[in-house]
Symmetry: C3
Subunit: 460 residues, 3 copies
């Protein structure tokens, strides 16, 4: 079936409509947080020179920029591994993230930063908006190559909304700790995306199989994404933790977990190939599972060896997933998971939730100190009497809530995206930039690359 993939009116109208809505809603609701407002100077006691640095900006901004790179370059380039889908991977990720961060500022703002009728935004809101969009980028990985940009914008609209509701339930109602988002970002994002791709199942996708693989250079582009995700993940998991030791600890734990994960991913990749050769897909993805899986517990007293163990396990689980589970999901469960997000975000996200629940349940004042324990788990107000095991139970509940939200939300959004009116490509035209992009012709022959044939007498 040849569907109409012409975006000429659908995409412009969708973009403009959404952007106009953002302008109006920002005009009505969004103002600066006190630390970004020009009145801030009045609040500082004169003579206290150190006060400028006490602005939240200096605690969070370097981490924010690292997270920002992960969302746009990390996720964007990670998905360029397909031979003819580089423009779309980077470009559509750019588009959906640019819309998503605006909508997330609003949605998360209404839930968490709403004061006197206004959402007051500061650098922490920017980080959280990037986080929220991160879960959309995860889901994008499952449907990569099979959807139109209009579908992506619609999915972003709904997923950001559901993300914010789920995040509110976890962080504000269940009092769960999830600084690096193992549950809110990865588990939710992955199972949401997998449900959407299940609804959008394409029985004849084999017709595009020739393009659903890498070429030599596209794998190197993808490594740019992998490495920026890997390197900046310590910033991701520590970006919104408490000031001081919690940020510090989260960075150390993530660093350790990721390092261990690389070695086990390489080990499994080689062991599972009949000639012992490494597979770029595993190196690009499974090496990151350790960062996902310490998302919840990174700011806790997980201990460096605890982080190594988490990374160790996830490198193995994730690589096994790519080799055995992804083909199974596709053939038996009709889940076509282009980037294998179930292996990188789904299972490690759930593991991360469990690790967080166990670590929280084991917390005690000997390890944290009396004051440290209260500070780490916000044990004040009505939580003063909470025990560690109660915190652990609520953490565990967070996993199930996230999964339920993802499945139900994914079914609904998948259903909406299934209408054949959004300009999606037909099965034989998937994974192809030329559907939505003006693609340059390749040079007619390699000869045009040689110096002598086209250049005329460059020097005497």
């Amino acid at each position: 079936m040849a569907w109409n993939t012409n975006m000429r009116w659908r995409l412009p109208l969708t973009c403009l409509l959404l952007q106009v809505a953002m302008v109006v809603l920002f005009g009505v609701f969004v103002r600066y947080s006190p630390e970004a407002d020009a009145h801030w100077i009045e609040g500082k006691e004169p003579g206290n020179r150190s006060s400028d640095l006490e602005n939240e900006f200096y605690y969070r901004y370097p981490s924010f920029q690292d997270v920002h790179v992960m969302i746009f370059v990390g996720f964007g380039f990670l998905m360029t591994f397909l031979q003819r889908y580089g423009y779309s991977s980077v470009g559509f990720n750019f588009l959906l993230a640019a819309f998503g961060i605006q909508w997330a500022l609003l949605m998360q703002g209404w839930f968490h930063s709403f004061h006197d009728g206004y959402i007051l935004v500061g650098v922490e809101n920017l980080i959280n908006a990037d986080f929220c969009v991160g879960s959309v980028c995860v889901a994008f990985g499952a449907i990569l190559g099979k959807v139109s940009p209009v579908q992506l914008l619609i999915m972003t609209l709904f997923q950001v909304t559901l993300f914010s509701v789920n995040e509110f339930i976890l962080l504000s109602l269940l009092n769960v700790k999830d600084a690096g988002g193992s549950m809110t970002i990865h588990t939710f994002g992955a199972y949401f995306g997998l449900t959407v791709t299940w609804v959008l199942y394409r029985p004849n996708l084999y017709q595009s199989k020739a393009r659903q693989s890498a070429v030599y250079h596209s794998d190197l582009f993808a490594m740019i994404g992998t490495l920026f995700l890997w390197m900046y993940w310590p910033s991701f998991n520590s970006a919104v933790s408490n000031h001081g030791d919690a940020q510090h600890r989260a960075a150390i734990n993530t660093y350790c977990s990721l390092a261990a994960c690389v070695l086990t991913a390489v080990a499994l990749s080689s062991a599972l190939h009949k000639k012992g050769k490494l597979d770029m897909v595993h190196i690009q993805n499974a090496t990151l599972a350790g960062g996902v899986a310490v998302g919840t517990a990174a700011e806790m007293m997980l201990m460096p060896y605890g982080s190594l163990i988490v990374g160790f396990i996830c490198g193995i689980v994730s690589t096994l997933g790519f080799v055995y589970l992804t083909p199974f999901l596709e053939s038996r469960l009709r889940i076509q998971d282009t980037c294998g997000i179930h292996n990188l975000h789904g299972m490690p996200g759930v593991i991360g939730g469990i690790v967080g629940a166990v670590t929280a349940a084991c917390a005690n004042s000997q390890v944290y100190g009396q004051e440290g324990l209260a500070h780490a788990f916000n044990l004040d107000g009505f939580k003063t009497e909470w025990s560690a095991s109660l915190q652990g139970s609520f953490q565990a509940a967070g996993i199930f809530v996230s999964l339920a939200m993802a499945l139900v939300g994914g079914l609904i959004v998948g259903g909406i995206l299934k209408f054949p009116i959004w300009g999606q490509a037909s099965d034989e035209n998937c994974f192809e930039d030329a559907i939505y992009w003006e693609v340059p012709e390749e040079p007619k022959n390699a000869a045009s690359h040689h110096e002598d044939s086209t250049l005329k007498a460059p020097e005497p």
Copy 2:
């Protein structure tokens, strides 16, 4: 006409001469600022533990590194979109920027950091030197592919000088605020570059048209540049703002403007293509126009929705410029603008100057607070009595001064570069790395890429 493009003596002599001059001038003039001098420790009161962090280094260094990436990777890779000009794009940008930052440290130092016969440099000088070179990178975009490295070094020498004079007029004489450089960097850089390329008009450039386009991979390399510019632009616009709320606010405003700009650029790119397909040129460039256009006003109380509106407009203006204005400029005004800098830096820069002037003219003590208003616009000393509208008028004057400096300076420098002695390529050899670079031969046949044909019995 076959010009002599042999660089053998011209380029080495130019480089060495300029570098020796830098060494001598640095030896005579440049010393460390007090905050980078070993005597600094003596100025701290003992017992005040917080004093180490009060070093300007910690306020500015993360932003500096982001700006540094924008200049070298951002601009360098943005220009690699041409199929056979990647080495030159990255390499010449590297060369001119490495020279330019040294010369800018001197020129800007004489104007702004000169004390007792010495230029005292600290991290803020490094940022400003990178900013100044940014305007040269902008101008480079207009003449990309048509000039020799010697011409670029000469242009850099003059442009940095003119930039510093213009910046001094704006910031010190007109008391203009322009933290993100909409006027000093983008407007000046773009119209300077456009004037130079107008003077260097090549009537037979169509002979190189085959190389003046992208190939698939070169567009992906260019996206690396685009994304690093886009992601780090909040650091660019906030890097030299006042400590605390101003830096914080500038980052938020830039983040918002850039996000809006992506959606409208995508919308217009699709709407203006007969089949609704996106054009990589627009995605690579027009998505950045929002960052240019909030350069002046980002640190002001522009409000997040104000930033969205600016980004909204600039995404449209910039994309329209690529589709309609660039061909018009080339055919009618004989302005050959390789990278379309008029659309990315020229028009958005002027819009940014206007937005800044209007925002400044609307400033009042209700929005800023009494103290905040004085702090934001330096309303002390002789400016104590300045009204907002007076500040706005001076801001507007800054646009015209920048334009005038750019046009006059561009005419003079263009005239100098027009002499046929600098090793520029002939019209049919433009946009070709092989003129100035040792370029590797392509593999003779694709077969050499196959595993089996060249490898011998890798295992038993």
Copy 3:
């Protein structure tokens, strides 16, 4: 001779064995430093709001992330210049660095952070671990393309050990200052790697010559590595310097040295080519020599012009090395140095050690201030009476110790790696990813890249 390059059991077992050892050793030895421990909050005086920022995290974390990027993207992509060795360059660098940072945390921890039976790790340990691995990445450059991943892991194991011993001798016994590691990282790493490659000499390596060169795109990938190394080098040299002016000064000096180095590298590259053309190898490598050579002295009062002079000289020395010395080393001394690390790290490292010794020997209280001098060179305790020239002598001794450690260590490790059991490739199969990686088939014909041939009726 066709060696067995099948990694199926060797690589997985090596990885798993090493990683299990890391888990056990971390479990026994590694805990959080007080600044990353949940008890930290108890140590802060209540009411002192500024105390959160006094956490070491905020002094070092932005620099840490820059260094992290240099190790994984910088070194990884710098080595992708080979036409068919991109996967291995990035992937093996990733693998060895991920293992190396864990082992370095332990080794350096035992020497420098060992308290009451535990290694207490904080952000400074992470930076130092990255530094240590940097020296392994340097050595990797010499043997690139000629070793198996198992050999790399074994080399990393030994080299990290030797590095830590050498570092302990220099920093703790000889009281040498070497913040940017000219001696400990670059001199040691380069001569270690050169010795190893000398031991592993391959007389028939010419059989792989066809693959030991670049193609157009691989050179652009390598420029990503070059630029991230170049841009972030100021962070590298300042990352572990004293708080405040020393970090500030180290960044300024490195910035200046690197800028000068670019101009002289370009000058020499052009002057040494018969048609004056630039060579990508020089631009990718020699432009970085200035960063290496101010490693030791960057935090000292070298003065900006001093830094320019160092960069000036190293750009020349390094480029001359590539043109004249590397071929000589290969043909006469049987040292096959794939990446030319002798030119980028070896000679500039030694120059850096000498510059550091001279700068230290010239230090006086007029330039540094009495207190500043004592602070800069830790002249307290038994060093109270040290003269500048004594410090200079010890600095110079550090060079020789590093060279001796590198040569002896390289001989031993080279000998171990020479056993034909590690899965190394035969001479005709060097520089080829397909030995150790599953490499995608290239598309059968260029036609498959054209829009019209494979896409069917994308729109009506």
